[in-house]
């Protein structure tokens, strides 16, 4: 059954996943757009850089983040200077970690979706008097809808399931940095298999229903596209 800690963890998890996804989309969208349009020579370097965190085990990435966020680390000093306290063991720190780790899952589908639009629809919108921002929002974004669904699903789900980074820099503080994935993990480690099954099962079921709804909606709308 869901005890108080698990419930807290659920809330923190949803908050973390939601906020991270929003930030990922807010940052990732312009970045992906820029990458899909630029002819910059060094573009491949930036693309590689974005995908790079993937190859590190999350706990190891978390370890380096921990060092970077620590009192002697570069990020730690900056955040200390801004907010008066280090980022480690705070919810904000988790968000930073999740965003870095999930960035490629958001940027890559978006970049692909934007690329496949081609330049024509944007040109048409320009001739119809739409400003760059306007045409981005009213043409590029809706045409890249499936890319956004993929980006959001991968980003959100991956943040829910993410665990290594969070474990490393979160400090497992109930109500603040203890997320569901760690709660389930703890149950497994503590040999409380019953609780683990319950939590994991619930999480799977809820996620499954959410995903089915998301994909169904995407499909409903996608009927608008189709054709050649």
């Amino acid at each position: 059954m869901l005890n108080e800690f698990d419930l807290n963890a659920l809330i923190v998890t949803l908050k973390l996943a939601a906020i991270s996804t929003v930030i990922l989309l807010l940052f990732g969208t312009p970045l992906a757009w820029w990458l899909s349009r630029t002819r910059w020579k060094l573009k491949a370097l930036l693309e590689a850089l974005i995908a790079l965190p993937l190859v590190l085990p999350p706990t190891v990435l978390g370890f380096y983040l921990l060092i970077a966020l620590g009192s002697n680390g570069p990020l730690g000093e900056i955040s200390q200077w801004i907010s008066g306290q280090p980022l480690a063991f705070t919810f904000a720190g988790l968000v930073v970690g999740s965003v870095i780790y999930s960035l490629p899952f958001v940027v890559q589908p978006l970049q692909n979706a934007f690329s496949s639009i081609g330049s024509r629809p944007m040109e048409v919108a320009a001739t119809l008097g739409a400003t760059p921002v306007d045409r981005f929002l009213t043409v590029a974004v809706p045409l890249a809808r499936t890319g956004f669904v993929t980006a959001a699903v991968l980003g959100f789900a991956h943040t829910i399931g993410e665990f290594g980074v969070v474990l490393m820099i979160g400090g497992n503080i109930p109500g603040e940095t203890q997320v569901l994935s760690i709660a389930i993990y703890d149950h497994v480690e503590a040999l409380e298999y019953g609780n683990a099954h319950w939590l994991a099962g619930g999480l799977l079921l809820a996620s499954f229903i959410t995903l089915v709804v998301v994909y169904s909606l995407n499909r409903r709308f996608s009927l608008f596209k189709g054709g050649d």
């Binding site: 921990l66 620590g70 002697n72 474990l167 503590a190 040999l191």
Partner: protein, 233 residues
């Protein structure tokens, strides 16, 4: 040459590595062939789950007594082989020199934002840390400042990276055979916590496994264990 697969609690990994090297050298000189001890570090909870599901380990060095005992109950263990191989000692450590005093009074001063402990639910060192704080009657008042590592290694990283000013870590972590880590520490007196009994069990009987287990119990090994910051059983 034969291979021996030894699952070992992460905190004991660097210690047993030295023991295993000695053992390998010794078997070469005695039997003329080099046996291999393959060490598999990990959390004891994970090792437990793996052993239950058929992991091909010969010996299991648990971080506590409980998992070893459970395995014995479930008949995964050669009966009568469970024994305590080391006693974990808890210290309150900070990388800052002269910060932790020799009585642990720093805990009551509370001029720190975070105190790191291992997760009491998962790690025996965490459970002991909880015991200490409770017997000092500051458990409740410190609750808001606790950050919990998944295991004792992570707890150490919280502190050593400076994210937590101090924390309860294993003595073995700040004291290795080669060197002692800097900073200041308080060795928690055994009067306010039960030292952490770490137990091992034999999973798959073989001459080599038994040979290794008796080597662990030998004086040569015990001195390595002691040097590494553990108490002796």
């Amino acid at each position: 040459a034969d291979e021996l697969r030894v699952a070992v609690a992460s905190n004991f990994y660097s210690t047993i590595k030295v023991i295993a090297e000695h053992f390998e050298l010794k078997t070469v000189s005695s039997s003329g062939q080099q046996h291999k001890v393959i060490l598999i570090p990990g959390s004891s909870g994970k090792h437990y789950a793996q052993i239950i599901n058929g992991a091909p380990f010969d010996i299991f060095f648990s971080a506590d007594t409980e998992r070893a005992r459970l395995l014995e109950q479930e008949g995964k263990v050669d009966s009568g082989t469970r024994f305590t191989y080391a006693l974990g000692k808890l210290v309150l450590w900070s990388p800052i020199d002269n910060y932790v005093d020799l009585q642990g009074k720093v805990l009551s001063k509370k001029d720190f934002r975070y105190l790191a402990i291992a997760n009491p639910k998962l790690a025996p060192y965490g459970k002991s840390a909880e015991e200490v704080l409770k017997s000092l009657k500051i458990w409740a008042s410190l609750k808001g400042r606790l950050v919990r590592g998944e295991n004792i290694a992570q707890t150490f990283q919280f502190v050593s990276s400076g994210n937590a000013k101090l924390g309860f870590v294993a003595y073995s972590q700040i004291r290795t055979p080669d060197h002692t880590t800097g900073g200041s520490f308080w060795e928690v007196p055994q009067s306010i916590y039960r030292p952490i009994e770490q137990q091992a069990v034999l999973l798959k009987d073989s001459a080599l496994a038994r040979e290794f287990l008796s080597f662990v119990k030998s004086d040569e090994s015990l001195s390595i264990i002691y040097e590494s910051g553990y108490g002796l059983p």
